[in-house]
Structures are given as C-alpha cells and as structure tokens.
C-alpha cells in the first residue's frame, strides 16, 4: 500500500463529479467520454450543435495536462504495455464501450450518480473482467 493516495484520489473524484454536474446543468449532456468521442465519428442526421459541445469538451481534456503543469508538477504516467498490447486494448475498449453504451465515466460516474441499475450492472461487469484480466497478467503469465 506504499502508493496509497486517498486524498488526491478523492479530490480528483470531486472535480470529476463537479465537471459532470456542470456539463449536465449547462449543456444538458452526459459526461460519458466514450459516447462523446464516438459521436464525433457519426455523420448522419447530425447538426452543428451535435459536434460543437463534443469538440469543446474533448479539447478541454486534451489541454488539461498542459494547464495542470502550469499549476503543479504532473504526476507520473507509467505505461508498461507493449504497442501490440495497446492496440488490442484500444480495440477492446472502443468496441466494448460502444456495445455496452458507456465506460468508466458514463456508467461508473454519471450513471451511478443517478442510481441507475443498468449502470451498476455495467460497472460491475467491467470491474469484474478488469480484475480477472489483471489477475491473469500479473499472477499467472
């Protein structure tokens, strides 16, 4: 437990909840990152409005590490997966979040904040497979 950071994680979580609340109360949209990103690749029956808020929110995510670095030093980003693993993982995350209608943010934060049973089932499912795959990777292989 030498890496245990409950305070930073809690404060980070409060900010994420604040962001999701701002987005729903100002734009009426759900802060589900997989849905926001996938919406940028839909070209049928879409208005200008469909793209604008998505582009703005994603732009905020993209520039956030630069802005963070102006305030305080960025924490480490340690990536141990190989490029081939990253590609397989990316495909699974992209396909799976679309099939399951959401990811950690849409189901795990927005959905659970609304006490949605559907999001609870989704969250339990991705946590379960995350635990199993990690167990296999860390302790079996």
């Amino acid at each position: 437990m030498e890496n245990f950071t409950p305070i930073q994680s809690l404060v980070g979580g409060l900010l994420i909840g604040l962001s999701a609340s701002i987005l729903i109360l100002s734009s009426g949209k759900i802060a589900g990152i997989s849905g926001i990103v996938a919406g940028l690749m839909q070209f049928k029956n879409t208005s200008k409005e469909h793209y604008i808020w998505r582009i703005l929110f994603i732009t905020g995510l993209v520039i956030s590490s630069y802005l963070y670095s102006l305030l305080m030093p960025l924490p480490a980003t340690e990536i141990s997966a190989s490029y081939s693993t990253l590609m397989i993982a990316g495909l699974l995350v992209g396909f799976g979040t679309r099939m399951g209608s959401g990811c950690t943010s849409g189901h795990g934060i927005c959905g659970l904040s609304r006490l949605s049973l559907r999001s609870l089932i989704a969250t339990m499912s991705f946590m379960l497979s995350g635990f199993i795959v990690t167990y296999v990777l860390v302790h079996v292989i």
């Binding site: 993209v62 590490s65 141990s80 099939m99 302790h139």
Partner: protein
C-alpha cells in the same frame, strides 16, 4: 459565461480531476485492479468523490429538466439490462486492464504527448467504428 465556455471548462476540470486522482497513470490503474496482489485501493476514492458531487448535480438536473440556459436536458432513459450491456462492458474491462487506460485518461495522456496513448486512442477509435458501422450493420 456562455454555454460553450462552460463546456470547455467542464472538459478542463474533468481532465485535471483525472490527473490528480491517478486515473491517468496506467500502473496506478493496474495496481487498483490487482486485488489479489499488492492492492492499491486509491481509485475507489475517485468514484466516491465523483458520485458525492454528481449525485446532487444529477438530482438537480432531474428535478428541473432544463439547463441554466433554459434548454431541455436529455437524460438516458434506458433501463433494460441487455446482453450487449454486459458483454460490451466485460470486453471494455478486459481492454482497460490490458493497457491501464480507459477513454478519458487516454485522451488526457494523448494531450500530454505520450506516443503509447496516441496508439491506444487510434485503436480505440477503430474499435468504435467497427462496432458502430460493421457490427451494427451485420447484426441487422
């Protein structure tokens, strides 16, 4: 402040929250998923913090049903627990554990210039396109 300005600020706050919480560090994510090993439960606090605030934000949204700019709020209305919901989420969890990235943190790390995150995001976009176009068409 305009609606668009607030959306951009929400994106920035979301990203800063992800960085501060440790979600953008794949080794931290894997430490959280490694429940039988040297478990680091920190990331459970991210969900606690986010829901603590989100609960009130979404309750307000459900009560008023209109935004601060008097536009309708679209809350997902689906309640059906489908096979796709579970299988898709299981696949997502497997990918999350393989890389240590989920969609939001991967985009933040892409913005920080990590080549690995760029690779992951390109594959993720491809996975989304495969689902929304190929898979959805074949299913019909």
């Amino acid at each position: 402040m305009t609606k668009h300005m607030m959306t951009l600020i929400a994106g920035i706050i979301f990203g800063i929250g992800l960085i501060l919480s440790g979600m953008t560090n794949p080794s931290k994510v894997i430490g959280f998923l490694d429940i039988t090993g040297n478990w680091d439960p920190s990331l459970a606090f991210v969900m606690v913090g986010a829901i603590l605030v989100g609960f009130f934000g979404f309750r307000k949204a459900e009560q008023t049903n209109t935004t601060l700019f008097c536009e309708p709020i679209h809350l997902p209305g689906k309640t059906h627990i489908s096979k796709e919901l579970i299988i898709g989420s299981l696949l997502f969890g497997a990918g999350w554990a393989l890389a240590g990235f989920c969609p939001g943190p991967a985009i933040v790390a892409l913005g920080a210039g990590y080549q690995e995150a760029i690779t992951f995001v390109i594959a993720m976009l491809l996975g989304m396109l495969i689902h929304d176009n190929l898979y959805e068409t074949l299913k019909k």
